[in-house]
């Protein structure tokens, strides 16, 4: 029997995995401890508010690396990450770039997937292609090969539709 990693009393029934930068955090919790942190198999993903999900993530020791959470601010609109934590709303589309490492675990937690698979939009524009190439370089440098393969496909697709 595997015990809950939090209370160490009851049997663990919920297994939770979070990827924070290059570090994988694995937790095995009992139903009660999981529910207290907003992780439940029967709960609806978006029935929780963003502040609740964030509280759950930080309670589990998912600490974002690289960015200092409290002082982080969007260079374009000035929104501080702490304000996003309170309201659950971002200020502008550049916030996604400014807070990328902080938002990545949250997006995966909400949707259960890390990456968009739906409609593409203007992938053939020169600017987008440039951005994709930059990301591919970064993915290769950090040995994130899964992302690199997806990016390579997107660049190919963009080249074809040009």
């Amino acid at each position: 029997m595997m015990l809950c990693s939090h209370c160490r009393k009851k049997e663990a029934s919920v297994f939770f995995k979070a990827i924070d930068q290059n570090q994988v955090i694995e937790l095995h919790l009992c139903g009660d401890c999981a529910e207290k942190r907003g992780i439940s198999l029967v709960s609806e993903p978006s029935s929780l508010s963003i502040p609740e999900i964030l509280a759950g993530l930080s309670g589990l020791g998912v600490k974002p690396g690289g960015l200092k959470e409290q002082s982080a601010a969007c260079q374009a609109c000035g929104l501080r990450y702490s304000q996003f934590r309170e309201t659950g709303r971002l200020g502008c589309n550049h916030c996604y770039a400014s807070f990328r490492p902080l938002l990545a675990p949250l997006v995966s937690r909400i949707h259960g997937f890390p990456r968009h698979q739906g409609r593409t939009y203007r992938l053939n524009s020169a600017r987008n292609l440039e951005e994709l190439k930059k990301k591919l370089k970064l993915a290769v440098a950090t040995e994130d090969f899964e992302t690199a393969v997806a990016l390579r496909d997107q660049i190919r697709q963009a080249g074809q539709s040009e």
Binding site: V42, E44, N93, H116, G118
Partner: protein, 350 residues
């Protein structure tokens, strides 16, 4: 009260001649989009918000789909007009909270509409009668293609369409169906069935959307997440769940009708006919309760004083803003209930 003409128009989604319309009232798909060069509405200055409305109005006017559309700014409408748009599912209650610099575009027969500067710059929706998610999506996909060429949407190859709240990130898609589930409600198995849905990535809410109680056994089912699959995959999954639920409701109706509970059900349905035919004062909640029974009676083929198209119409027009619009003045709650009773009696022909 500039929108009172709307009362005479029939919204396409009220049609009773659509797939599964005895159980599924309507299908809706919406897409959330933001313009690249402006901060999201919550953070944008008034000047920016006004520009966003201008850009979206400009971009849509040229579109053939909006040939006969109404382009409205919420600040130019009074409370009753705004209430009417909410009750017709064309805008959200949130949009009316701060009417300055909010806009709405209503297409022909209310099939396609746009909400401007709610949480995101643009929310486009497509509304169809019955279980018609694919048709609703097809119309919206075409609109998204066209508007996407005229406007610059905020997009990231990893995260898709960028939205103010990360819960809408990715496809920005929310598909939903309104279902009438009185038999499941009657046998009180509705909660158990609905609970199992949350495991299939589907959210269930009452008629008015988030955080409201269920009126008239009408439930709204929608996809819980919107990133990591294609738009079609999210829609197909919802469709699958809705179809299964429709089957469960049909089975339950069958079971009620052929069992010892039939006479109890008949009693409730015909009592509802009696009350709506003879009442002199009725609240919206009570009217919904009885209309739900009559809707079930119609679906079971029993002798009812109205058909499905009429009933759908009463469902819509018995709501508070519609009642006051029909009375052509603002009414206190008691006067409203009196006017509603009179109007419903007239519609039934009692």
């Amino acid at each position: 009260m500039q929108l009172n003409n709307m009362l005479k128009l029939k919204a396409a989604w009220l049609s009773a001649d659509a797939p599964e319309s005895a159980i599924v009232l309507s299908s809706r798909v919406r897409l959330a989009r933001n313009l690249e060069r402006h901060a999201f509405p919550g953070k944008a200055r008034a000047k920016d918000l006004s520009q966003v409305i201008g850009e979206i109005f400009e971009g849509t006017r040229k579109n053939r789909i909006f040939g006969k559309a109404a382009f409205l700014r919420l600040e130019d409408l009074d409370d009753l007009d705004r209430g009417l748009l909410v009750e017709r599912h064309l805008i959200s209650k949130d949009l009316t909270a701060e009417p300055a610099n909010r806009g709405v575009v209503v297409g022909e027969k209310e099939k396609i509409s746009l909400m401007i500067n709610e949480e995101d710059h643009l929310r486009m929706q497509s509304l169809e009668a019955g279980l018609s998610l694919s048709a609703a999506w097809e119309a919206l996909r075409r609109l998204d293609d066209e508007l996407g060429q005229r406007l610059n949407f905020a997009y990231d190859p990893d995260w898709g369409f960028l939205t103010a709240c990360p819960t809408n990130l990715g496809t920005g898609l929310r598909a939903s169906c309104l279902l009438h589930l009185p038999a499941l409600g009657w046998s009180s198995s509705v909660n158990r069935v609905l609970e199992s849905l949350s495991r299939m990535g589907v959210i269930v809410r009452g008629l008015y959307g988030e955080g409201t109680r269920v009126l008239g056994d009408i439930f709204q089912l929608s996809n819980a997440t919107c990133l990591g699959r294609t738009e079609e995959a999210f829609i197909d999954r919802l469709k699958d769940v809705v179809e299964r639920l429709v089957e469960r409701e049909k089975e339950e109706r069958q079971r009620l009708c052929s069992g010892p509970e039939r006479v109890k059900l008949e009693d409730s349905v015909y009592r509802s006919v009696g009350i709506l035919s003879h009442c002199r004062i009725i609240t919206f909640e009570e009217a919904m309760h009885h209309l739900s029974y009559i809707r079930l009676g119609i679906a079971l083929g029993w002798a009812m004083p109205m058909g499905l198209p009429q009933l759908n119409d009463i469902f819509l027009t018995a709501q508070p803003a519609h009642i006051q619009m029909a009375a052509q003045k603002e009414l206190a709650a008691r006067e409203r209930d009196q006017f509603r009773a009179e109007k419903i009696r007239g519609q039934i022909g009692a």
